[in-house]
């Protein structure tokens, strides 16, 4: 068992590495589709007043006129050696840039995640305690609603309400507690919806299971039934969604950080995208892929330890998921 476990873990780790490399190459390819390059374009800003001749000289001096495959090979070999290169836009080392903004995004994302989980658990478990007709229906509506509101709208509304009307935080100090809190709310709300959806679907599914009836027939109260029987099996698949939600948190930080004026990975991407700052984009994408792959790897490795039904031999395919969320249900099944 442990042997199988270890070799499985090793295999997954190797796969993860390949995925990260491919993500790096993928970004390079996609960004290189566009003719021309960011440096030329910045130089062409009429305010600079450069002539085409001068622009050509500057480009050649930096080796940006070499064929794409050569450039890819150079940057890939540097990347594997741990050198992320220099930002084309700011000329500073990409590693420094990322190191500067990473903590802020980590704080935001963790706070958002905590809020998402709290909200999801409140909504999800709340449905078990509210009367069927009245409050429960209301609670059940929340995930859909959360998923339907563009998250920049949530951000703008929060800022105006709490930042300006109530003066709870200063917009210009986005790292303060309350500012971070509300940014995290804006980022966490859609994520909470995903988790809550899965939670509700699972609770519904589990409470329809025969064993729940049988347990009730044994005289358990609703509360005990929930705590002893439904809680664990319906919460386990949340691990899977959570692992997937990491990607959403990273993607969402793009918008949230822009709206709240935070500096972080998201705003770094936003700035780099507008200037096609390839080295930064590649590093961020690879970083995101690393995080995503690792988190999912951990989820896959932890799951069998928590759920006695799952045998590792079959790989993560054996991991049960919710039927309600197609993406979740299948995202798990696909890795082989």
């Amino acid at each position: 068992m442990t042997n199988a476990y270890l070799s499985y873990a090793a295999k997954r780790l190797a796969q993860a590495f390949v995925v990260v490399l491919l993500a790096y190459v993928f970004t390079f390819m996609v960004v290189s589709i566009l003719p021309g390059d960011p440096i030329t374009n910045v130089l062409r800003d009429p305010q600079n007043g450069f002539t085409e001749d001068e622009i050509r000289q500057i480009i050649a001096a930096q080796g940006l006129d070499q064929p794409i495959p050569v450039q890819l090979w150079t940057s890939l070999s540097h990347f594997v050696a741990g050198d992320f290169g220099r930002s084309m836009r700011s000329n500073r080392p990409v590693a420094t840039l990322i190191a500067e903004v990473l903590p802020s995004t980590l704080i935001l994302a963790s706070a958002a995640f905590a809020i998402a989980l709290l909200l999801a658990v409140t909504i999800g478990y709340g449905t078990q305690f509210l009367p069927k007709r009245f409050g429960q229906g209301l609670l059940r509506g929340f995930p859909s609603l959360f998923l339907s509101v563009p998250n920049f709208v949530i951000g703008l509304v929060l800022i105006h309400l709490f930042g300006f009307q109530l003066g709870l935080f200063r917009v210009i100090a986005p790292d303060s507690f309350w500012a971070t809190f509300f940014a995290a709310v804006a980022l966490g709300v859609p994520v909470s919806a995903r988790i809550a959806e899965v939670l509700i679907a699972n609770l519904d599914k589990e409470s329809e299971q025969e064993y729940a009836s049988v347990a009730r027939g044994r005289g358990l109260t609703r509360m005990r039934l929930f705590a002893r029987h439904l809680l664990k099996p319906s919460s386990l698949p949340v691990i899977t969604v959570t692992a997937l939600a990491i990607g959403e948190l990273l993607g969402g930080s793009l918008i949230t950080e822009t709206v709240f004026g935070r500096t972080g990975i998201g705003s770094l991407v936003q700035r780099s995208v507008s200037t096609q700052d390839l080295p930064v984009l590649q590093a961020v994408v690879s970083l995101a892929a690393v995080v995503f792959v690792l988190v999912n790897l951990i989820a896959d490795l932890v799951y069998p330890l928590l759920d006695p039904r799952v045998k590792l031999i079959g790989g993560p395919r054996a991991r049960p998921t919710t039927a309600d969320d197609g993406a979740v249900a299948t995202s798990v099944a696909a890795t082989s």
Binding site: K132, E210, Y211, V214, R309
Partner: protein, 574 residues
């Protein structure tokens, strides 16, 4: 014509359905005018019965007749969309109208519940012990260790060999029979006055089924528990219960003491139900079967239609090799039916798949109608499949849900390119008519058919090619006895008319007795005994065969110490 009876039975004869059946002066459970609806759909209508202390009562009826619904109404475990009206009086107290809080003290302590499906009735992510402690908590015993001791004792009481191991296991680590014992143990642990058992054995093997039922009967006697037993098997009901309530479409057709209902059913429905139970009517299709029997006699010298010889198949499971079929040999003369019987896992399906070429044997030869099957690729087998067809066990999964019936039945003709389009149309209609299905079903999808109808479609689909051999892998095990009877009749008349050769797989020995000519009894991949049906059934040689035969419910009460190898024909005994 049987179907016509069935149809009219419902409308014509009704044996005082609404009157509660008086059993004892002060019954433990009295159900009165109970109606249950799911949403706006009423599935149980005005049902009433009584169950005395220490007595047992069986609710019987075909699938969907509302048996479980009644049980759940009594247990107040209806799903959220279910609503019950009427009166349920338990031990003198009306319990349908009281609050959940008021009812809860009765749960487990006074009313125990043994569910139908053992595999899904225990929480998969908690140990048996943890769940047993919930039941033990109902005892007024503060000490946890003593409670555990009581649990272990109960486990031993229900016949679990190693109670400690069971206590520490997760449900998926135990077999179905063990789980069912655990569930029974948990139900009786608080010593309830009433035990409601909803088809407690339908998911289990025949031999285990018998042992569980024996256990329930013994406990009922020893502990003076009243038993409300739910089953679709009339023979089981007759064997185990003092009183019967026969249901159809949520309405009581007949009720009364077992002896009278069983021996002289008053309602047409109950009569038909009795007639459809294979165990009670071994010679129901004798006339049709005898046509095939003639081939059996004449076949002596000629080459058999199917010849399987020394076939072995091994699977690799978790690194261990598992011999699923071991040195299997049998022959089937043309125009006859050969049955493969045995418990779950004995290798029946594997044998069938080998026979069709869906699996490759490790060794041995298989020939069907003179063609070699073993060792050929699917492409090469296409020609063999034109004459060799399979009907699957489960009618719900063997038809593509997105296709219409017409397309489904036509598919083999299109694939094999048989006939002109017009001829194909005709053959489709003919095949459907042969299995008793009308043309109005042509444009339906499988989801819009009942299980019995689907299985007929599957049979029609095999028939449409006019094959010589049809292999049927437990074709009726997912279906009700009455539906099963209909299908068996179709199969036999087709054989009589077309001279088809069948390989019929089943775990139901009574059914085999009704329709097969020869039989092979399989046990752990080996054939332990084979020969003509009458011989084997009347004079079994192997203990395994004897045990199998003994498990056939006979309809005779007092089964707890039932002797082995009882005569099958007990219908008239009462």
């Amino acid at each position: 014509m049987a179907a016509q009876d069935r149809l009219t039975a419902n409308t014509l004869t009704r044996a005082e359905p609404n009157a509660p059946v008086p059993l004892r002066p002060i019954p433990l459970l009295r159900v009165d005018g109970l109606s249950v609806s799911y949403g706006s759909h009423e599935v149980v209508t005005n049902v009433g019965f009584e169950l005395g202390r220490g007595e047992s009562l069986a609710l019987i009826g075909e699938s969907g007749s509302g048996k479980s619904t009644i049980a759940r109404a009594v247990l107040r475990l209806l799903p959220s969309n279910g609503r019950a009206t009427g009166r349920v009086v338990f031990d003198g107290q009306e319990v349908l109208g009281i609050s959940e809080r008021g009812f809860r003290p009765l749960r487990g302590r006074a009313i125990g519940f043994v569910p139908q499906d053992p595999a899904n009735s225990l929480n998969p992510v908690r140990t048996i012990g943890a769940q047993a402690q919930e039941a033990a908590a109902l005892l007024d015993e503060p000490d946890k260790r003593i409670r555990k001791q009581l649990v272990l004792e109960t486990f031993a009481e229900v016949g679990l060999d190693n109670p400690r191991r069971v206590y520490d296991s997760y449900p998926h680590q135990l077999s179905g029979g063990m789980l069912q014992r655990v569930l029974i143990g948990l139900a009786i642990l608080p010593r309830p006055a009433l035990l409601v058992a909803d088809e407690p054995t339908s998911a289990l093997d025949v031999t285990i089924q018998k042992r569980i039922l024996d256990l329930l009967t013994r406990l009922q006697h020893d502990l003076k528990i009243s038993l409300l037993l739910i089953t679709h098997d009339l023979a089981i009901a007759a064997e185990r219960a003092n009183a019967l309530v026969v249901l159809k479409d949520g309405v009581i057709q007949e009720a009364g003491r077992t002896a009278s209902v069983f021996s002289s059913p008053a309602s047409a429905y109950a009569r038909k139900l009795r007639a459809d139970v294979p165990a009670l009517n071994p010679d129901r299709y004798a006339a049709l079967r005898d046509i095939g029997s003639r081939f059996l006699k004449t076949a002596a010298g000629t080459a058999p239609k199917i010849a399987v010889s020394a076939v072995t198949k091994t699977f690799n499971v978790d690194g261990k090799s598992l011999v699923a079929v071991d040195d299997l040999s049998f022959t089937v003369p043309a125009g006859t039916t050969h049955a493969l019987v045995g418990e779950s896992g004995s290798g029946k399906t594997t044998a069938v798949r080998l026979l069709l070429g869906l699996e490759q044997p490790d060794s041995g030869t298989i020939s069907v109608a003179g063609e070699q099957i073993a060792g050929r690729s699917p492409g090469e087998l296409r020609s063999a499949w034109r004459h060799l067809q399979l009907v699957y066990q489960n009618p719900f999964t063997s038809l593509d849900p997105t296709w219409t019936i017409e397309r489904l039945v036509r598919e083999p003709l299109d694939r094999f390119g048989i006939g002109t389009p017009k001829e194909r149309d005709e053959r489709v209609r003919k095949a459907l008519a042969d299995v008793g299905l009308g043309e109005h079903l042509l444009s339906r999808k499988p989801a819009a058919l009942s299980g019995g109808q689907r299985q007929r479609v599957a049979i029609a689909r095999s028939l449409v090619l006019k094959p010589d051999v049809i292999v049927l892998d437990e074709p009726t095990s997912a279906l009700d006895v009455s539906v099963q009877a209909g299908i068996v009749e179709v199969l036999l008349s087709l054989q009589a008319n077309l001279g088809l050769t069948y390989v019929f797989v089943s775990h139901d020995l009574a059914l085999v007795r009704q329709l097969a000519h020869t039989v092979s009894v399989m046990h752990r991949g080996c054939i332990v005994e084979h020969g003509e049906v009458a011989e084997i059934f009347d004079n079994p040689q192997q203990p395994y065969t004897k045990a199998l035969l003994a498990s056939i419910p006979s309809g005779v009460a007092d089964a707890a110490q039932a002797p082995h190898a009882r005569p099958l024909l007990m219908a008239a005994a009462e």
